[in-house]
């Protein structure tokens, strides 16, 4: 094929301390009940294994969907790619270089990021939100503005109408388009998307999914997208990895996942959604 992998993960492992030394205080009742508190100083720390040996690769220009329930490790997996999470073990390489070889700020500016509810800065106008990464990169103002308008248009938002609005003046779908435009602003070769369409109503969601697919085909970006929505995964992915309990159970083209789901969890999960 001669194609290069934009992202490679090799046997990546990550566990989070749930309780014990260095644990973040958590609300809610201890699973062992109140008596456990008395011994808490001596208790060994408890861990939650988020990634239990994940290996994945994404070719340039391809869309990889990480599909799974909440808690399956798919978001943690995504976040190792721009070093929002540092793995305990294993190797992560982005654009041909190991993530630890990157300056972390530089890495993040080179990788677009879209999250549910978009995470727009509420005190920035739409145009300023879109032009954020170019601004961080030190582009001159005129070039930033031009770029923001261009991307609003690409995202199907009329620049004259939307540029000066604040995020709270937009509908959910419009916010998500702005989020996407922002991720694309500095023309990153790689896009990470975490449940990007999760908060939208079914009609809007379907329309934006189609637009995204068309846009991706046109721009040729590499995309890693996280979702728990089986139809969305099958519709958007060039390739789909089904995850559970920190492992990749099956990796294949959407058609394989739909027609030959692996015995057990994958079949139950896919069928429950499609049948």
């Amino acid at each position: 094929m001669g194609r290069v992998n934009a992202v490679e993960l090799e046997d990546v492992r990550k566990r989070f301390t749930v309780r014990g030394s260095g644990a973040q205080p958590r609300s809610g009742v201890s699973p062992r009940g109140p008596s456990a508190r008395i011994h808490s100083r001596r208790e060994p720390p408890e861990y939650h294994v988020a990634l239990d040996g994940v290996s994945l690769s994404v070719e340039e220009g391809q869309v990889l969907v990480l599909l799974g329930r909440s808690g399956s490790g798919k978001t943690t997996d995504l976040r190792t790619i721009n070093r929002m999470v540092d793995p305990d073990e294993g190797r992560v390489a982005v654009l041909g270089r190991e993530v630890h070889g990157w300056d972390v700020i530089d890495l993040r500016r080179r990788v677009g990021y879209v999250i549910q509810e978009a995470g727009l800065l509420p005190h920035f106008t739409v145009a300023d939100n879109v032009a954020l990464v170019p601004r961080l990169l030190g582009w001159p103002p005129e070039r930033r503005t031009a770029r923001a308008r261009e991307l609003l248009a690409v995202g199907g938002l009329e620049p004259d109408r939307f540029a000066g609005l604040l995020p709270r003046q937009l509908s959910g779908g419009e916010r998500q388009r702005v989020g996407l435009a922002r991720a694309l602003a500095a023309d990153p070769p790689l896009l990470l998307m975490d449940e990007p369409f999760g908060a939208l109503d079914p009609l809007t969601r379907r329309r934006i999914q189609d637009e995204f697919r068309a846009l991706q085909g046109r721009l040729g970006k590499t995309v890693v997208l996280v979702t728990h929505d089986v139809p969305e995964a099958l519709r958007l992915g060039d390739s789909v990895a089904v995850m559970d309990a920190g492992r990749v159970l099956q990796r294949g083209r959407p058609r394989e996942i739909r027609e030959q789901p692996q015995e057990g969890f994958v079949r139950d999960f896919v069928n429950a959604a499609l049948l």
Partner: protein, 506 residues
Amino acid sequence: MSFLHFLASRRAELMTLTAQHLVLVAASTAAAVALGLPLGIAMTRLRRLARPILALAGLVQTIPSLALFGFLIPLPLLGGIGTRTALVALILYALLPILQNTYAGINQVDRTVLEAATALGMTGGQRLRMVELPLALPVILAGVRIAAVVSVGTATIAAAIGAGGLGTYVFRGIATVDARLILAGAVPAAVLALLVDALLGAVEKSRRPFRAATALAVGTLLTLGAALVMSRPARGTAVVVGSKNFTEQVVLGEIVSQLLESRGFEVQRKLNLGGTNLCHQGVLSGELDVYIEYTGTALADILRQPAHSDPAVVLQEVRQRYRELGLVVADPLGFNNTYALAVRPDDAQRLGLRRISDLAPHARTLRVGLFGEFLERPDGMKGLLATYGFRFGTPPREMDLGLLYTALVNRQVDVVVGSATDGLISALGLVVLEDDRRYFPPYDAVSISSEKSLQRHPGLHEALNALAGRIDEDGMRRMNHAVDSERRDPAQVAREFLDGAGLVRR
């Protein structure tokens, strides 16, 4: 004369005090922001710090301001008598709301937004400047607003430590039981608080709060800079005269000041300071050059020595022990402001009361009024009853000094424990019972200054000794009465005394 006329008649002084007040508020709030904002941000980064720091700031709030001054005055750098100490106290009080709101404001920023900011490649500093601070700004501004408005109220206490401001009127008014004077300080302070609240409220609600806050901050700093440049006092050359915060002390402070002025000294008045300790620390630290103390107070309250009833012995002992502190006690002014038991003249006649001993057969049916301090003092109530061997039928009623004589005249009490020089004693024709067993220690008025002050101001010692033996109890009582009851200006009363005594040739 209406209240407004009253204010108008003091326009110039009122403007000066208001300006001083504003400077205190602006400077302390600005400094509290400069300290509290970085500290609040640090608390969001090092969360372990948050709880102890907030607890400490909260603890400071519970310290009454006079007590805080007491802690601060002896400190090098921060303390002393005057604006600096007042500012330090105001800053400490203003820190809590600013710390709290900075911490809370940054913590309430939406996690998703922070997550996005980080993932898009903002550095920690960029995230703080571009996301956290702007989004926390309304909450932080609300904290600054609370701090500033509270500070307008708290700054009145600055007068207790000689830092000026509108509290000067309040304290002077309390000392002379002059409600109009109290209002002359309190009403402008309240108006000021409303204005500050409105101004900061406008900044908070403005469409560009960041720009408005910056403009306000720059404006405040420029004004403060200008105030600093213009208000550099002629310190060093002037003799600083202090006084405690009651009528007699203010009158005596004026007498000393005017006497010194008539002899060519430049004088700076720091009258109405909040209590004995402040004045004592003031002369010790060199912030004050002279104030009037009472020998009994010096012995019992400052030196903590057992009381003695012989005036000469007490004076001798105070002089000697003060010398070890580097302080010089001038010759007594001539009056003894000791405790005095006073009764109504009709009772005195009917019951044959002339001396304290005469109370014994009637004590069970008499009601006594006093101010709280007298119950606690070593030379107070307990010893009095033990020395004279009688008891009153009902427990003593505690009341404010200013109310004692009103209660006596209105027959709510029958005996009051007041001071020998209380103006109302003469004015109301009350009978002071003779301390026939010489229980009360002497409280002879003497001027106190440090050796250093006397060296720095040649002729000061002679000038102060010129007052020796010139004021007796009755004279002091009449001057107190002129101020307390006739609402005369202490400065005017002092001038008339100096003229009458021939101490000043005009």
